[in-house]
């Protein structure tokens, strides 16, 4: 193999690939990335056997070939040599790199030992644009569980039916759901699957502005294909909780408030939260306001009144302030709507007049 390209292009691709290598010490080949130049172009691949990524790099191919090199070595090397043109060449199992100033040899492995990528088999396909996917995933992923004890809760749920993609996640304390309606989409059969949250984190980093993303799903894996990358992840085996039944339909109290107001007040109150992160939120229709209260035995007490058009009953409940902040930040609307039934029942947060996103959070015990 002999290729010539700009280091800037190569470096970006190697950084992406490096994130998908394994920290597994038993099989060193999993810590490496695979460089391949053939008639389809220059490609870099990496996998940790859970996720896999293939990135295309633009450049000139003088000789085709294939080689695996340790990811850490090559990424650290490329990060420090400037953005000029470089030439990469295989010499047996070594990679020889040459720029105007440098000549380097990196020890590699035979490509024979590199894992083979699973072929897409009998898959369902649909497409959407990267801003849609990015917004959908990032607004929901915040609610997924970080613990692996319940794999279905450490995953993002997708349900594709007719022209709607529903994306949801929950860690059993809160729940986020986003609906994306696509004109082009025509899913005859209901398709639902669970993508591990780590894979979603990775795909979010991969997505760039204004691309068309094709998604292919079968029983075991999902492939996201962008213009110059492919990302494969296994799917979580399991069943997502039947979450729609826990979303209340009627409420005893409702309040609409300006997003920037409530956000800055929660952050302010956050300085004084107690050890359990509890913030008391009171919906007060008489005062036309939401009252915020926090106190910490060592730091001090704080209360504030945020003007809001509150209706219904007078209800106060305690919440983890970080959970509130997570949800409100995801709302893309000037006004935020709060809906609640009692101090023991979930608080529903959504943008005013926006049915596409909702965030549901359970209160804390005792007010």
């Amino acid at each position: 193999m002999k290729i010539q390209c700009l280091n800037k292009n190569l470096k970006d691709a190697v950084v992406i690939a490096e994130r998908n290598t394994s920290k597994n010490q038993t099989l060193p080949i999993l810590n490496s990335i695979l460089l391949e130049a053939n008639k389809e172009g220059i490609k870099i691949r990496a996998t940790n056997l859970e996720t896999a990524v293939e990135v295309s790099v633009s450049g000139k191919i003088q000789e085709t070939g294939i080689l695996a090199v340790p990811a850490k070595t090559i990424s650290a090397f490329l990060a420090n040599i400037g953005d000029e043109q470089i030439i990469l060449q295989t010499q047996k199992n070594n990679l020889f790199i040459k720029t105007s100033e440098i000549e380097t040899t990196i020890r590699g492995y035979s490509s024979e030992d590199f894992p083979i990528f699973p072929k897409p088999e009998s898959q369902e396909e649909f497409a959407l644009t990267s801003p849609e996917l990015k917004q959908g995933l990032s607004s929901v992923a915040i609610a997924s569980s970080l613990s692996d004890i319940k794999p279905e809760l450490a995953s993002i749920f997708f349900s594709v039916f007719k022209n709607t993609i529903k994306i949801a996640a929950t860690d059993s304390f809160r729940l986020a759901e986003k609906n994306i309606v696509l004109k082009k989409l025509r899913a005859e059969k209901m398709l639902s699957f669970l993508v591990p949250q780590r894979a979603v984190g990775e795909i979010l980093r991969l997505l760039e502005n204004d691309e068309d993303i094709e998604i292919g799903v079968n029983k075991n894996q999902i492939i996201f294909s962008g213009p110059n990358y492919k990302f494969i992840s296994r799917l979580t085996d399991g069943k997502f909780p039947d979450y729609e039944q826990i979303i209340p339909k009627k409420f005893n109290a409702t309040a609409v408030v300006k997003k920037s107001d409530i956000l800055s007040h929660i952050k302010l109150a956050g300085v004084f939260v107690g050890k359990l992160n509890e913030l008391s939120l009171a919906f007060n229709p008489a005062k036309k306001a939401i009252l915020l209260n926090t106190s910490h035995s060592d730091v001090g007490e704080h209360s504030s009144i945020v003007p809001a058009s509150a209706q219904g009953e007078n209800i106060a409940a305690k919440f983890n302030w970080k959970y509130l902040l997570d949800g409100i930040s995801q709302i893309n609307n000037e006004y935020v709507e709060f809906n609640i039934n009692s101090d023991q029942s979930p608080l529903l947060i959504k943008g005013k007049g926006d049915a596409s996103y909702l965030y549901l959070v359970m209160p804390m015990r005792g007010v």
Partner: protein
Amino acid sequence: MTNEELWSRALTEIELAVSRANFVTWFKDTRILNFAEGTVTVGVPNGFSKEWLENKFHKFILKSLRTQAPEIRAINYSIATPSTTAAAKIKFKKEPPPLQEEQLEFKDFYVDPRTNLNPKYTLDTFIVGSFNELAHAAAQAVIKNLGRVYNPLFIYGGVGLGKTHLLQAIGNAVCKENPGKKVNYITSEKFSNELVSSLQNNYVHNFKEKYREFDLLIVDDVQFFAGKTKTQEEFFYTFNALYEAGKQVVFSSDRSPKSISDIGERLQSRMEAGVIIDISEPEYESRLAILKAKILEKKIDLPETTIELMALLIHKNIRELEGALNTINIQSKYQNRVLTQDEVKIILSKNIKPKNAVTPTQIIKTVAEFYDIQEKAIYEHTRKTEVVKPRQVAMYLIREDLKGSYPFIGQKFGGMDHTTAIHAYEKILRELKSDAKLEDELKSIRNKYQNLQK
């Protein structure tokens, strides 16, 4: 040689031939899924292992397997998640992080999404007394011989007597003993909601298939099928499909199949085809045992006398018993002392509906409404059968529930003789022993006037 033995012998051979790292990476969590007619299907944990075994180790695996079983011709590889036992082991190792006790969770998430069963209901926590021992025995028989005895099993009884507990315990026990069995618990209401939404969204087909593949289908509160013709019809087909395939079905209801009004005859007779068992109200000793079990489970500290008093005062409903226990517990925690007997009585009296608040006139009115006759007809001296029976029932109820004297009853019914009242009371008492329908009628009449007071 079982599949496990075959695979482990083949693995020992493969282990010698490949490097340790390769072996650990690629052969972890593999197993033989199926071995028939010379073809072995090997289950692998992910797509990468599948490709690798197929492309790199295929000859190796074939050779090693054939030295053990020469008849093997071909090997397929298929992605399968590691068996449940292996997965369960991993789960045990990782202790859940200390839960933030203060943060509330979505309640419904405790329920296993595959089966809709709540793991807290088990047979171990089910307290057996004379009031429910038959139901318990039937449940155990069903668990041991799924689909072969007592199919369908129909359990009925009033609210809060443990029907749901028993039903879910059956499901949980079956899941535990045969992890491969597909079990599903559903309330009749949810069944009909699902049907409606599948009709709306045009995937009735999926809906039908879904319910026909279960080995055990548990349907709670079937009385709510009443009046829903389309749901009944769909359920009827599902039931038939399951029944013919020898799959177990378990029902519960608050009354016997005969007395569920507005339910199709076909479905009704299907429900009666197996065995019908009722759960009645617990007697004092059972109530005491239930309270003690709850106290142990919730780690509540209450004196023996208080518990006995509660068991004595609350008769009918186990759920009420639990509620009262919680109330007493919170009260004594809040006041930080042991409550006296009188205080307990006062608290309980607020929770239990007073027994004798219903008036004879109310009973007569309810009875008249139930049998669809004019209220004043009951007071008339007539021997029309359609009036005589309701009148006798009303007399019986006044005697039984209000402890009214015979002369008082006679007087109440337009100056009849007290012997008429005695006759009526004894007649109904006699008929109750032989006529299950009458018993159900009385139960629903009682329900009606008891609900009037709430």
